[in-house]
């Protein structure tokens, strides 16, 4: 199906973009890479009549480090995140998650901000960012605010963004010393396919023991999901197959999967179990390496 008519507005600054969005209300939506938005128009799922294009706002682009915080501008392409040595050094799971998205063509258009704001349950970068304790910087008519990445999502295609508010950047704090991360996903084919289930893990180790862990799940709940109960089981423990199996089982229990075209809820739980174990293995091995 073709696309409806819409007008295309191209503000030059964040302030202008927010002002436009507040003024136009529900009739308008932001467009970044468009890789989700354009197909949504075709499917009749998107009905906005005014597009506020963000690509003229340079301050939204780029990956920088300031005051120890790695800041990824919302308009940074997924390809740039995947290729960034800064991201890879800080949280390899996030670079891997970005690399897992779609195809090279999609990655060169899609933005990390779009991956967050479209709030699709199977989005790849949010679970990885959550595992790395990322915070999202928002700006709107009432100024700026910061939200933990896991609190950004309210439901499928719903976020905490208020009318006229936009995502400025994803900020990754310095990762604790001795941390390693991993992003594991399962899809039905190797090339360009959505995740059926995904698990992102960050493990921090000291003297052979796990001192902290964060586990986030993707595609198995209405929103990317931080599973604190499971992560808490790791603290103070030495990595072992039995421990990881117990933690993985808890993750599988805590997941809230649905049955759809890509897999049944039961299969997804099974995948969470397997992927969690694999992610813990990889992340803990990386954490050990980071120490040595």
């Amino acid at each position: 199906m073709g696309m409806p008519d819409f007008s295309y507005l191209r503000p030059g600054s964040v302030a202008d973009a927010c002002a436009l969005a507040s003024r136009l209300g529900d009739d308008a939506t932001f467009i970044a890479g468009g890789t989700e938005l354009i197909p949504d128009f075709h499917r009749g799922r998107e009905t906005a009549r005014q597009l506020i294009a963000l690509d003229g706002i340079d301050e939204l682009r780029g990956i920088t480090i300031a005051a120890g915080e790695l800041r990824i501008g919302a308009l940074t392409t997924v390809a740039a995140v995947a290729a960034s040595a800064l991201v890879r050094d800080r949280l390899v799971a996030l670079a891997d998650a970005a690399r897992a998205i779609g195809s090279a063509q999609i990655r060169s258009l899609a933005t990390i901000g779009g991956n967050f704001c479209r709030a699709v349950a199977c989005a790849d970068t949010p679970p990885a960012a959550i595992a790395g304790e990322a915070r999202v910087h928002l700006i709107g008519a009432h100024g700026t605010r910061e939200v933990a990445a896991e609190e950004f999502f309210l439901g499928p295609r719903r976020t905490v963004l208020a009318q006229g508010e936009m995502l400025l950047a994803i900020a990754l704090p310095a990762q604790p010393a001795g941390s390693g991360s991993s992003y594991q996903r399962f899809s039905r084919r190797k090339g360009a396919a959505l995740a059926v289930a995904a698990v992102a893990v960050r493990v921090t180790m000291a003297a052979g023991r796990i001192t902290g862990a964060r586990i986030a799940l993707g595609a198995v709940a209405p929103v990317p999901m931080l599973v604190s109960r499971a992560a808490a089981m790791l603290e103070g423990e030495r990595p072992s197959r039995a421990l990881f199996a117990d933690v993985a089982a808890v993750c599988a229990d805590d997941a809230l999967p649905i049955t759809d075209l890509r897999g049944s809820a039961e299969f997804r739980r099974e995948l969470v179990n397997v992927l969690t174990r694999r992610a813990l293995d990889e992340a803990s091995a990386r954490a050990e390496e980071a120490r040595s």
Binding site: G102, A104, Q105, L109, A192, G263
Partner: protein
């Protein structure tokens, strides 16, 4: 409404300013506003990659980028890849490696590759896979793309050799100059430059756009249609409904004509065509469709054949009493005596297998363009069809005008695999709307409409029973199949027969019973898909044969060899097998794959399996009764003798048939390959050929071309004999010379002989035709289906890795040996086999159209209906075991369909070998395998079956 804005684009180094609406994609701007049609529209949703261009050097789906957002950016399209006519090294590499088949994905694949090599001059195979994962190729030319991209630098600084006669693979052992050599594809240069015109690329002045309204419900009676609002919309030129189209019922099968252009009373599936509009552009046409008001009396619907056959089920064609019980076709065959055969058996095994509704998913969406000329008396229709003749005939019958008043042109076709083997509502509606509006009408299916029109694989429910002696020799086979036909017949009658007729061509089956029932359901019609009706029964047979072998303690190869078909035999169902090197394909596949060292000896999760297959080389009978030869060719020699034009309305749809026919013409004429021009496939230029289906073109078209060439050569030999003063019979023609066979120095230039011939008698034209042998097949109902002049045979060995925790299957390696008779072109042959293997992998592991609530398809797009990508490409070894088929041109048979058939069984058997889980229901998903693995664990069984039921 929102108006147009001025957009400045820099395309291929040129600055252009266009007035565009903001909702115009870059793809539409390039194709419609700039005429750059090398960039293709395959899905319009970023899934297929056919529209890939570079934007500031990055690869981008131009269908996802608004043109306004590309303002000021540097855009490179396929048209900008070559400079001043010199092909880019990457393009040359694609040509030389044979990395092109239908060509529809080629522009996009080249642009994605260009973006890669701009960043990384020497990419590894893994890097190429990552870069091209978003470029779907249904011909699955992936193995050759990998080689072409990896080897691009070899062509740096090389001027493209316009002479195509550069052999990628040269066959030294035969005394042929063109045949059996891997000459460059005839269509390759046009396809790598984006110059090849597909139907949707043809832009005529004043063209308007047509769109069809499909039914939103699966079954109902149309109570009222109101098109007044649609008609009143500005920009709408015509709106038609069932009342405006002929009453004629049509269909592929003359015995079951059950379709009408637009529904007149009843709709039978979601998508059934109700109305059509012509408007100034696509957007207006779509808007008009939304303004058409239709009121239905909704009826109960049935979505599977079991419910459809149940007593009291709603009737889908109640006006036709012959379809009582929704039974569309019934086949009841019994050859020999199965009761006795099973009584003689030492072991009888029975199993239920269930297939999947797979869709051909050609990369090019169906398209049609219609224009009336000569005061509205003559119709020209361009169509993306595999079968111009059947389309021509259907148009004539439905529109009620003689075939002589209709000109059908088949431009380049971006893949078919059976999806484009019959007239579509697009063809008819374009013709009718063009007549009404007095303007050319262009129509195209969206990707979703393609899935709704369907004509894909019938889902089959197969009960298969095989009886064997202790040594594995088969005593009897009983094969009972229920086919889900969907709402119309399409090719389905033939499918129902093929599902039974082809099992006995591979193994000797002394007693055989086949019951086939094709059932109407309220789903899109199933049709003919590569391997027509046979892949699922073949999957069942090859799976069950392995189960039996295991029970008897026989090696899977042993049981196959014990029963393998041999040359010059007649099957129980009266099919005459002539050439046959099946046994040799088995022996070679076993040896090359390292079977003995691997079978049963691989670590857990690794497995190896064998499957076999084969197919007809063209159907022995046409679809409708006719005495016309099946293929006809005409060769005209250019006046000065330095070229010839081959006229044959055969259909190049990606399989390489034009190349093969040109090779045959050149060989038989005795001229270089590059002398031969292929005339357009246009019914006013080229004589009848039945089209590209049932793997018929090489054998049938090839024979017609060979005869036409012989006819020309005979004329030139006479002329030359007079000049040289010898007997014409002593002369032969090779590589542009006519000479005395025994004294090659005595001779003259071919061109000189042609000039003399023209001077004396005018145009030098040769004609040829091919009719299959008469009286093929047995004297029983349906005995004609499965008949063919010749049969192909293949054996494939698959090696897989099963992730024992997730059930994910990776196909690591394939070894395939095929008997396709004499190989005419090794490059296109291997391309076909590789493509069949990868397509077969998709059918086995990934693909199924899913019917959601109310009969709505749940995955009618390339995002949810997953087909293999380049990342799925296994290591493939293919080789030919050549037989000489006396009925084929130079001994050739078919390859395109037969090579798909072994794949499903080989993978299923390999999965079983890897993990002890036998899945009998396609596709074999990770979820099913995992269910089997769990059952193995809980039941402690060494092997389990997962299918209609799960059991240890």
């Amino acid at each position: 409404m929102n108006g147009e804005v001025l957009v400045r684009l820099n395309v291929n180094g040129e600055d252009r300013t266009l007035a565009l609406k903001p909702n115009t994609t870059l793809l539409a701007a390039l194709r419609l506003h700039m005429g750059l049609t090398g960039t293709k529209r395959g899905c319009a949703s970023g899934d297929c990659g056919a529209c890939t261009v570079q934007v500031d050097g990055q690869p981008v789906n131009s269908c996802l980028l608004l043109a306004v957002a590309a303002e000021g950016k540097r855009i490179t399209t396929i048209e900008g890849l070559s400079h001043h006519g010199d092909l880019h090294p990457l393009q040359q590499s694609f040509v030389k490696h044979g990395a092109i088949q239908c060509g529809f994905c080629t522009s996009g694949a080249l642009m994605a590759s260009k973006a890669l090599i701009d960043q990384n001059e020497a990419p590894s195979h893994d890097e190429i896979k990552e870069a091209l994962a978003g470029n779907l190729c249904r011909c699955a030319t992936y193995p050759r793309m990998l080689k072409a991209v990896a080897g691009w630098k070899e062509f740096e600084g090389v001027r493209f050799d316009a002479k195509p006669h550069v052999h990628a693979e040269r066959d030294q052992k035969r005394d042929h100059d063109v045949v059996s050599h891997g000459v460059t594809r005839y269509d390759a240069p046009d396809k790598v430059t984006g110059r090849a015109k597909y139907t949707a690329d043809i832009q005529l002045p004043d063209t308007v756009v047509g769109k069809i309204l499909g039914s939103p419900i699966a079954h109902g009676i149309i109570k009222r249609i109101d098109v007044s609002k649609a008609r009143a919309l500005s920009g709408v030129l015509a709106v038609i409904t069932g009342a405006d189209v002929p009453d004629t019922w049509y269909g592929v099968s003359p015995a079951r004509e059950d379709e009408q252009v637009l529904a007149k009373e009843r709709v039978r599936y979601v998508g059934d065509e109700i109305a059509a509009v012509a408007a100034v552009d696509e957007e207006t046409a779509e808007r008009a469709l939304k303004l058409i008001e239709v009121e239905f009396e909704e009826l109960p619907a049935v979505f599977d054949p079991v419910s459809a056959m149940a007593p009291g089920a709603p009737l889908i064609h109640p006006e036709k009493p012959r379809y009582a019980g929704n039974i569309n076709t019934r086949v009841d065959w019994h050859f020999g005596d199965v009761t006795q055969g099973f009584a003689e058996a030492d072991l009888v095994r029975e199993e239920r297998f269930v297939g999947n509704r797979t869709y051909q998913s050609p990369m090019e969406p169906h398209a049609a363009l219609a224009r009336w000329e000569h005061h509205g008396e003559r119709l020209t229709l361009w169509s993306s069809t595999q079968t111009p003749h059947y389309l021509h005939r259907s148009l004539s019958r439905v529109l009620g005008i003689p075939m002589g008043n209709i000109r059908v042109i088949r431009p380049a076709v971006g893949g078919g695999f059976g999806a484009k083997a019959e007239a579509t509502p697009l063809d008819f509606c374009a013709a009718i709307l063009a007549k009404l509006t007095g303007r050319p009408v262009a129509m195209e299916y969206t990707r979703e409409e393609m899935y709704r029109h369907f004509r894909g694989r019938h889902k089959q429910y197969i009960d298969l029973k095989i009886g064997v002696k202790k040594d594995g020799s088969i005593t009897a086979v009983e094969h009972t199949v229920v086919l889900d036909g969907g709402a119309y017949t399409s090719y389905g009658v033939i499918t129902a027969y093929y599902a039974g007729s082809m099992l006995p061509t591979l193994y000797k089956i002394p007693n055989y019973k086949y019951d086939g029932t094709r059932v109407y359901t309220n789903l899109p019609a199933s049709g003919a898909f590569r391997g027509h009706g046979v892949p699922q029964p073949r999957f069942a047979f090859e799976s069950l044969l392995d189960m039996i072998a295991e029970e008897l303690g026989l090696d899977p190869f042993e049981i196959r060899l014990r029963n393998a078909m041999e040359p010059n035999m007649r099957t129980g169902n009266a099919l005459d097998i002539s050439s046959c090197e099946f046994i040799e394909t088995l022996n070679r596949a076993r040896a090359t794959s390292g079977w003995a060292a691997k079978k049963g000896k691989l670590p857990a999760g690794k497995g190896i399996g064998v499957g076999c297959g084969g197919f007809v080389s063209g159907a022995g009978y046409p679809i409708y009764r006719s005495d016309f030869p099946h293929s006809n060719a005409m060769i005209r020699v250019h006046e000065d003798g330095t070229g010839v034009t081959l006229h044959i309305a055969a259909s190049e749809i990606g399989q390489g048939s034009d190349t093969v026919l040109v090779q045959i013409a050149a060989e038989e004429l005795g001229v270089p390959y590059e002398w031969v021009w292929m005339a357009d496939c246009d019914t006013t230029l080229s004589p009848l050929d039945l089209g590209s289906y049932s793997s018929r073109v090489t054998l049938m078209g090839g024979n017609a071309v060979k005869m036409a060439a012989q006819n020309v050569t005979a004329q030139l030999r006479e002329v030359a004999a007079r000049e040289l003063g010898c007997d014409p019979a002593a002369l032969t023609a090779r590589e542009g010379r006519i000479f005395v066979r025994e004294h090659p120095s005595v001779g003259m230039d071919w061109a000189a002989a042609a000039r003399i011939a023209f001077s004396k008698k005018g145009p030098v034209v040769g004609t040829g035709s091919y009719t299959p042998p008469k009286h093929l097949g047995g004297e029983f109902k349906g005995g004609t289906v499965g008949t063919s002049p010749a049969y192909s045979f293949s054996t494939a060995v698959a090696e897989v890795t099963v992730d024992l925790e997730t059930g994910y299957v990776t196909v690591d390696r394939f070894t395939d040996y095929s008997d396709a008779g004499t190989v005419i072109n090794p490059v296109t042959l291997h391309g076909q086999v590789e493509g069949a293997i990868i397509m077969g992998m998709g059918e086995t592991l990934l693909e199924d159209t899913i019917v959601g609530a109310g009969g709505h398809l749940a995955n009618a797009n390339l995002h949810d209906y997953l087909i293999p990508t380049i990342c799925e490409t296994p290591e493939i070894h293919t080789a030919a075991v050549e037989s000489f088929e006396p009925r084929g041109p130079f001994g050739a048979k078919e390859i395109g369909e037969g090579s798909l058939l072994p794949v499903l069984g080989a993978i299923a058997n390999a999965i079983y070998d890897a993990c002890g889980v036998r899945v009998t229901e396609l596709p074999i998903t990770p979820e099913k395998i995992l269910r089997g693995l769990k059952l193995r664990e809980t039941s402690r069984a060494s092997r389990v079956v997962v299918g209609a039921g799960v059991r240890a």
